[in-house]
């Protein structure tokens, strides 16, 4: 750790700074809420929200304050914000194709647009981001590029999570190769695979 880092930790202890606010971001259906649920179940015994195979299940940001994570013999306390999936387009027809009726699909689409706005607004009020990517998908999505760009511009810590490694077609390597300048951990939030390494990284990046 450099001199700046030591000073930062010293002042943080001196003035008892409030918990770091960490946003869980990513495209729809990357597994953000599954990861948020995993974190809360592991450390509070609770859950954050419902999950679904239909995109935009989370349409309101949810915050859980004071989640204490223990790792490497120490502990850190974080405020975790599970954000709605970021997207540049939302077409209600896609929900209809998944069996929803028109009115229901239009309502979901409308709520999803509000959720995206909320997620973008949260970007300005965070101390760090966990960016969840679906390891079965192309990592160069615009959402990933925009979130990473915003964290780099603000000089804020970012941890990339290559999720869904339980699926045979997943490739964490392609995510690592796409964004080599940032730390990445490969997990299955659903099965808890490699989750201890994830907590170690969280403590290292945001502690």
């Amino acid at each position: 750790m450099g001199v700046m880092g030591s000073f930062k930790k010293f002042f943080k202890r001196m003035f008892n700074k409030k918990n770091a606010r960490i946003g869980i971001y990513g495209p729809p259906n990357a597994g953000k809420t599954t990861l948020a649920n995993r974190i809360l179940r592991d450390w509070t015994g609770d859950a954050m929200g419902s999950v679904s195979h239909i995109a935009h299940e989370t349409r309101r940001a949810r915050r859980r304050e004071g989640v204490t994570i223990q790792s490497n013999g120490g502990s850190i306390s974080l405020d975790i914000i599970d954000t709605p999936g970021l997207a540049t387009k939302i077409d209600f027809h896609e929900f209809m194709e998944l069996g929803m009726n028109e009115a229901e699909s239009k309502r979901r689409a409308k709520e999803a647009t509000e959720g995206v706005i909320e997620a973008v607004k949260w970007l300005e009020n965070l101390d760090g981001v966990i960016l969840v990517m679906d390891a079965t998908e192309d990592p160069y999505t615009q959402v990933n590029v925009t979130v990473i760009g915003n964290m780099e511009a603000r000089n804020l810590p970012l941890l990339i999570v290559a999720n869904k490694t339980d699926l045979p077609e997943s490739s964490a390597t392609s995510i690592r190769e796409a964004f080599p300048q940032h730390p990445m951990v490969a997990i299955s939030a659903l099965e808890g695979k490699n989750i201890d390494t994830f907590y170690d990284e969280v403590a290292k990046r945001f502690g």
Binding site: T88, G149, N150, A153
Partner: protein, 114 residues
Amino acid sequence: MDLVSEDKLAKMQPVEKIRFIIDEVKDGKILVLEKGLTPEEEATLIEMTMTQIEPDDFAGIEMESYPSQTDKSLLGKLLKKNVVRTRLTVIGPANKLKTLKKDRDMISALVSSK
């Protein structure tokens, strides 16, 4: 398709840029921005796009930009703000522009005329 020079966008305030892009894209145009948008402007564009979505009318945008490059100067570290070098960006209506493949230095997209 309109190719927009760096100079044209540089003369606009961020809010004007976003308004210009939204208006053009809602008109059905595909824009190629020579120098792209900053990450903050991209986030604002996404936010503004969401307010414009209308069922059966406008489903949003497709945006393609390369990962930006950050100059991490000492001043940037002290001010907690880095200088980001933006790169070429393509933006169009979601129903006309579709990304086929994208990597660090190549974007393949399909443009439809419907």
